[in-house]
Structure formats: structure tokens, C-alpha cells
């Protein structure tokens, strides 16, 4: 695994923001200023069926990365946040992990958009779920997005 300029004493210099969930991401190489188009942004879904279930509809994550040049290994975690009746988060379930995905940042001072198509996403129960972007060698989660799955 290559992790850019990472050493044992220093984490890779990579960050991310703008994690969004949507139904489709299209790519237009002819439009050099705005290559990505995100279609069908959503923050909650209502699966027709009983839990547990596996969601088998297009679910794209779109992330913007930036940082030092290098090759990185990206993972996406999904957990359900266990809440009490007031909504306070008490615990979380064991993470479902997608990846790894290779990410190359070739040039400093540039933003790199990336889309990851997650197929067959398991939901053990209705509730509040959280997607987390992690990079190998980086302790902190880079960015998160929540999805409410209605029962």
C-alpha cells in the first residue's frame, strides 16, 4: 500500500468534505469546469419491506478530497446510530465496510472529486445510519453523512 508521504510518525495529509448521497452521478469529460453532475440527492429512504434487508437500488456517494500528492486507500464505513427516545445517540452497530478504493492525488492544491457506487447496502433495522469516509493510515474519519432509513 502506498500512502503518499505518510510515515509512522505522521499521517497522510489528506482531507475531505462534501460527502453527499444520490441516485446517480454522471461524468462529462467535455465540460472541463464542471465534470460531475449529481442527480437525485437524498437524505432519507423508505424501503418497501421488512427489516433486516439489503437495499438494492443505486446509491452513489460523492466526495471531494484534497491534500498532498500520493496514492491513498479509501474505505467507506456504514453504521447504524442507536438512539434513545429523545434522539440522543447511545451506541452504534458494527460497521459494514466498503472498499478499498484507490485514490490518486497527483497535484497539490487541487480538489479531487470522487464518486463511489455502493451496491447492495444492508440495513439491519430502520433508523439513523452514518456513512464515514476513511483513508488507510489516517486515524480520524475524514467526512460523514447521515441517512435516515424509515421503517
Amino acid at each position: 500500500m502506498s500512502t503518499g508521504e505518510w510515515s509512522e510518525r505522521e499521517e497522510p495529509d489528506i482531507a475531505a468534505r462534501h460527502l453527499l448521497l444520490c441516485r446517480e452521478v454522471t461524468w462529462n469529460s467535455a465540460d472541463t469546469e464542471a465534470r460531475y453532475s449529481l442527480l437525485g440527492l437524498f437524505t432519507d429512504i423508505r424501503p418497501k419491506g421488512t427489516f433486516p434487508l439489503v437495499w438494492d437500488r443505486p446509491l452513489y456517494t460523492f466526495v471531494q478530497f484534497f491534500g498532498s500528492p500520493g496514492e491513498y486507500e479509501v474505505w467507506i464505513e456504514l453504521v447504524r446510530l442507536v438512539q434513545d427516545e429523545t434522539g440522543e445517540i447511545l451506541d452504534e452497530t458494527e460497521a459494514v465496510v466498503f472498499g478499498p478504493f484507490d485514490l490518486k492525488i497527483a497535484t497539490p492544491f487541487f480538489i479531487h472529486g470522487r464518486s463511489f457506487y455502493l451496491k447492495t447496502v444492508p440495513f439491519d433495522a430502520p433508523g439513523l445510519f452514518e456513512f464515514r469516509i476513511r483513508v488507510a493510515g489516517v486515524y480520524d474519519v475524514l467526512v460523514t453523512e447521515r441517512l435516515f432509513v424509515e421503517g
Partner: protein, 66 residues
């Protein structure tokens, strides 16, 4: 406690000019446990029920309006 990363773009950043390997193929089912593979696949959403809307008011005719 470790300070949290502040993901703020530096002011001189701009979109990468040479990124082409963008759209990954869909993930396979390696993330599913053997138990999860037995769960039903769901492809449909339940319809949303909208709150009742007020009935639109009838437009007044010119004679009524005057």
C-alpha cells in the same frame, strides 16, 4: 484529545484538471456477511403520503371581482 481536522479548502485550490478514473464500478457483495446475504433484496420505496393540501380557491370571474 486529538484536535479534529478542519477540512477547509485552501483559497488557491481549484478542480483537478486531469482526473478521469472517476466512476468506479459498483461494489460487489464482499461487504456483506453470510447472514446479510440471506436478507431480502429490496428495490422499491414505499410511497410517501403528503399532508392534506388546502383546496385551491376558485378564481373569481371579472363580474364577481367588480
Amino acid at each position: 484529545m486529538k484536535p479534529r481536522r478542519q477540512p477547509t479548502f485552501p483559497p488557491d485550490m481549484k478542480p483537478a484538471p486531469e482526473v478521469f478514473e472517476i466512476l468506479y464500478p459498483p461494489t460487489e457483495d464482499g461487504h456483506l456477511t453470510e447472514e446479510m446475504k440471506k436478507w431480502p433484496l429490496v428495490t422499491e420505496e414505499r410511497p410517501r403520503t403528503l399532508p392534506p393540501q388546502p383546496a385551491p380557491s376558485e378564481p373569481k370571474s371579472p363580474a364577481q371581482a367588480s
